[in-house]
Symmetry: C2
């Protein structure tokens, strides 16, 4: 009989959003007339920009005739897209070589699969609260996790403890779920810590496009030395509304080498290249053509229109919470607003309370870790109308609490 990977038994029963969907469905079945407003899952709602659509259509068109038909592409992604992303980094003041960029079907795949490159025996630091994929993918691999607490005191931006050694560090900034953003000085402390510990930072910058302050780093490579210690993951999901179109990328600098137990110098770039060449066959050519269009001048402008729309939603939510005297994080430089549940409520209890009394769906902080148990996440990805209506319901319900 095959021995299964029994580490799966250590995963929590339900994935967060499945449980939310279950509770919402049960509520809707019991109350079919109520209009439920969903500000829970971090999914965009605005259509793709016209340039992206053109690029995608062009990709489809190419598949229809023998002269332009595209078969297997490079597993690392087409040069035209890797170069477009390298130029995008450059426009944001960061130098990233196209050769170090790998195109994928999304940052979830990359952040999930990257742990394959590491041995079981490592000290892995993961913030709590955080995007659950970092935790679950490591649990699946039988790996031990050391959590670092995000809380109101540190603004949900945990900093390294110089007296504690780590080998692998996950960071997400702008953060999912808290919306908190590291500034350059803070990231510099992390990079210095990583270099001193010969550790590797796995940096998730999926929400970088929401940063408006030019002083805030949109990439860890804005910090000197980061190429010697950091892998970066990014995605077109939030930048360009590609959640259903699927395209992500990661940067694995060739500088990133470590010595194996037998003295061999191993390159994470070479390992990731081998991993992707073996277990992945490249991202759809059609999608890569759409992604290339996203990074054109007009494509970027169209993306910015959508992002600005979401940013205005975030402002509406933030203003309401301010008015209600509810402490929150994020909401600027991020599509997420992370607030303290009123009256010290536990987050799933608050979820049910909010669903029953205001018919608004958010995400319970407990789904992101122990330190989220009294917090709640709202997203700015709804329509303007729904966001405003949800906030009116908030005012009505929570002014009284």
């Amino acid at each position: 009989m095959p021995k299964l990977n029994e580490h799966y038994q250590n995963l929590k029963e339900n994935y967060l959003f499945a449980e939310i969907a279950r509770r919402v469905a049960a509520y809707q079945e019991a109350h079919p007339d109520q209009k439920v407003i969903r500000l829970g899952i971090g999914d965009v709602t605005r259509p793709l920009g016209a340039r992206a659509i053109e690029g995608l259509h062009a990709g489809v068109e190419a598949m229809g005739s023998a002269d332009t038909f595209m078969g297997y592409g490079p597993e690392q992604g087409y040069a035209f897209l890797r170069e477009a992303i390298s130029a995008y980094y450059a426009r944001n003041g960061v130098s990233v070589d196209a050769e170090d960029i790998f195109i994928s079907d999304g940052a979830k795949s990359d952040t999930g699969n990257i742990s394959e490159l590491f041995d079981v025996d490592n000290v892995i630091l993961i913030p709590d609260p955080v995007y659950p994929v970092y935790v679950d993918s490591n649990i699946m691999g039988g790996k031990q996790i050391a959590y670092m607490a995000g809380n109101a005191e540190n603004g949900f931006l945990p900093m390294p403890d110089a007296s504690v050694h780590a080998d692998i560090i996950y960071l997400c900034s702008p953060n999912n779920p808290t919306g908190a953003v590291y500034n350059k000085e803070q990231l510099k402390v992390w990079v210095d810590y990583a270099i001193a510990n010969e550790a590797v930072i796995l940096f998730d910058s999926a929400y970088e496009a929401f940063i408006t302050d030019p002083e805030l780093p949109r990439s860890i490579y804005a910090v000197e030395g980061a190429k010697r210690c950091a892998i970066e993951f990014c995605s077109l999901s939030k930048t360009a509304g590609f959640t259903g179109t699927r395209c992500g990328y990661c940067v694995v600098p060739r500088e990133l080498t470590f010595t194996a137990s037998n003295g061999t110098v191993m390159s994470l770039h070479a390992m990731w290249n081998r991993r992707q060449s073996t277990k992945f066959n490249g991202t759809s050519y059609i999608v890569q053509k759409g992604a290339e269009a996203v990074f054109s001048e007009e494509g970027m402008r169209q993306c910015q229109e959508n992002i600005s729309y979401y940013q205005e939603n975030a402002r509406v939510i933030a203003d309401t919470l301010t008015k209600l005297g509810i402490r929150f994080f994020g909401g600027v430089h991020s599509p997420y607003i992370w607030f303290e549940c009123p009256d010290g409520m536990e987050s799933w209890a608050f979820f049910d309370y909010l669903l029953s009394n205001a018919q608004v769906v958010g995400t319970p902080g407990a789904g992101f870790g122990e330190n989220g148990r009294n917090y709640f996440r709202l997203t700015s990805f709804g329509s303007r109308e729904n966001t405003i209506e949800a906030m009116q319901r908030f005012e009505k319900l929570l002014a009284a609490v």
Copy 2:
């Protein structure tokens, strides 16, 4: 310092096709005037059918307006496509529940990632020669592999040895690289063996669309009992020319459960669902709309036109080899022709000989395992003209050997 996954050191240096590309590039640079004909890599060349193109365009169109925009889809794939695939199985006489089907970006990802569900401590049987992904993905996971020899004596269709126990068995039929196809009786022996050993069969049917004999099984589920012991992987790459468009699927029957060391019954279906929900975010909606169109009546007819074209190429190659008295396998029910290198030559030596003297690129059998070292693979995915020209060069060169 992070401890890396040192099992990567046990992988062979170069992926097969990278090495071929290197040798061909070197030859072309030295001989820029020579016309090289590539019948090596298993990549299609015919454009997608008109229905698939329509489906893809419709998918793109939907992304462009708010009413039809699609965000995150189900990680398992959309019901419309899972049901279309279930209906496709039914047309081929096999009952597969849509609920058991998972859509992905390709069979390479699925066959590579599936090994995550299994512990290191298993007896894993892999045919030799075979598609390198099965071997490499297990080596990356630090797993031991027991090879079963394919050779001229067993028609490159190894059968189980009742005296040897296995936990996990990889099978590929129609086979890559040999083109050999198991008949129903042979697969029945495998299924019976798997049930007797409580083993699981990982069955790769990526080339099933090339089977023309209705008596030959296009799915392992054509065999009674297979749902209790087998996972099946398939793809639109060869069925519909989706090598660059990217869509695959696998079937993980809910019947497939095993008891863990602590007595818990674990379901491979539930585990794969969790794996995909955690480390994958679904296949592009656009691609799934294209795939749905493929499985329509007209879409299937258009695919068949391309497949027939390739089958005719295979016949051209097979006829030439027959004429030359060269022993070969495959070429019927498969896009691959696997032949014995003339004069007992080693396959890489024959590769160089063929490239230098006939400017034809094939794939050295050694790239697929020890038992391929005196064999050579040609594919029928070239154009008719190139295939005919390559065979004329064969006749000229090899009639003399």
